[in-house]
């Protein structure tokens, strides 16, 4: 874990670049992380990010299929918004933990 300044805010970052505390997140932080990944955020992106944050706050498991059923985007559109690893990148930009397995 390390402390980094993103968009002028000090945040705790995990070893693989994810926010450790989702309450430290704000939209400016999201934009800066997205820029680093190479994504420019649109209002549609933010709808998805907010959905992921709500699910995470409610301690629900995130799945690509769940996002596809959210009514916000279908899975193909999700891939267009966050190419090459939608859940991986959207989670990082949304300030929530990385989707992992047990090892």
């Amino acid at each position: 874990m390390s402390v980094q300044t993103i968009a002028g805010v000090e945040v705790n970052i995990s070893e693989d670049g994810y926010l450790e505390d989702m309450t430290q997140w704000n939209e400016e932080i999201a934009k800066e992380i997205a820029k680093e990944i190479g994504i420019e955020l649109t209002p549609k992106h933010f709808e998805v990010l907010n959905f992921l944050r709500e699910k995470t706050a409610a301690k629900e498991t995130l799945t690509i299929r769940g996002v596809g059923k959210s009514g916000i985007v279908n899975i193909k559109e999700l891939y267009k918004l966050f190419p090459k690893g939608p859940l991986k990148f959207s989670s990082r930009i949304a300030g929530i933990p990385k989707p992992t397995s047990c090892i």
Partner: protein
Amino acid sequence: MKNLLILGAGTGGTMMANHLRPKLKKSEWNITIIDQYKTHYYQPGFLFLPFDTYTEDQVKKVGGKFIPKGVNYIQKKIEKILPGDNKVELEDETLDYDILIVATGSKIAPEETDGLIGPLWKKDIFDFYTYEGSLALRNKLRDWEGGKLVVHITEMPIKCPVAPLEFAFLADSYFRKKGMRDKVEITYVTPLTGAFTKPTCSTALSYLLKEKEIHMEPDFSVMEVDNDKKALIDYEEREIPFDLLVTVPTNMGDEVIEKSGLGDDLNFVPTDHNTLQSLAHENIFVIGDATNVPASKAGSVAHFQAETLTDNILLYIDGYQLKKEFDGHANCFIETGNNKALLIDFNYKTEPVHGKFPFAGIGPLKLLKESLFNHWGKLAFRWIYWNMLLKGIAIPFVSRNMSFKGKVFDIKKEN
């Protein structure tokens, strides 16, 4: 007389019947366990069956053998749970409950992926998460002549998340022993960022893939299986061709959960992570794969949960506050091939680490390192499962919560 119903006589349900019968007075509590199937499978054995390491008889027994005396065992289909009325509808009768334990597990749902159940299903496409699938795969492997073997995870969460990786490791050993490893190309396809998603594991274990010449395809979310092209296709039109596909289809909770309106998108029951009480109904408790808690769906987890859940049901009956005790503890052997295995011990918050287990400094099992002893441990576990675990006998020296004794936090980030 009060009624405690247990739905499902798998690992979790059977353990709860064994834990609770001696603790609840027979004059006050009826305990009933319901499961339509007669056979109890040792599911970890499905990993070994395809490689002819275990025989059919080693992975199945008659379920009734493990249900304690004094528990009613009903072999009927469960139609619906009516939580508002505290009733459960079976195929031809309705039962009342005061307390309900949901232990209906998880199962594969291959129909969720387009093209999976097509002309190639059980011909060139197999699962090993069912007895039938695992057996069919064994028969296929016995005279398969080689080609592209693709080991694939459809989406998370799945039961025993390391099983597909173990399958790939064991396949490498199996084909080497048969003298045909040069004829087989092994590819591991995952929707996650890699085979190892936790920094400690990725640092400590990445060498395994290289050593075993297993090719990785990360971040792959399958959209469909193209039976004509014999390829997996993802949402970005990436194609992965196969000659033999061993897939872990979407895992879902039982349909009865969906029919009863008790589940999430995948029919898993929203459950308090630490007390194991369902979030929607205070007299419904959930154990094992049926929960939506972010612990591994594994027998060891159900075993640790059973100890906490037993205490909590007794507390609930007496009107006390429940213990927020369950910490997501899991303890799993991971087969790496060549008669070696790893052992991992972790919980919701702590990643697998190095160390000795169960005795600090002594072991004899080594955490997160390959050893022959760990492999014997995994094989011995089958005996422990049938003779101790199902009967609710605590495994000596292994506590329900994760212990930090003997753990060494020495894995540094790779630069």
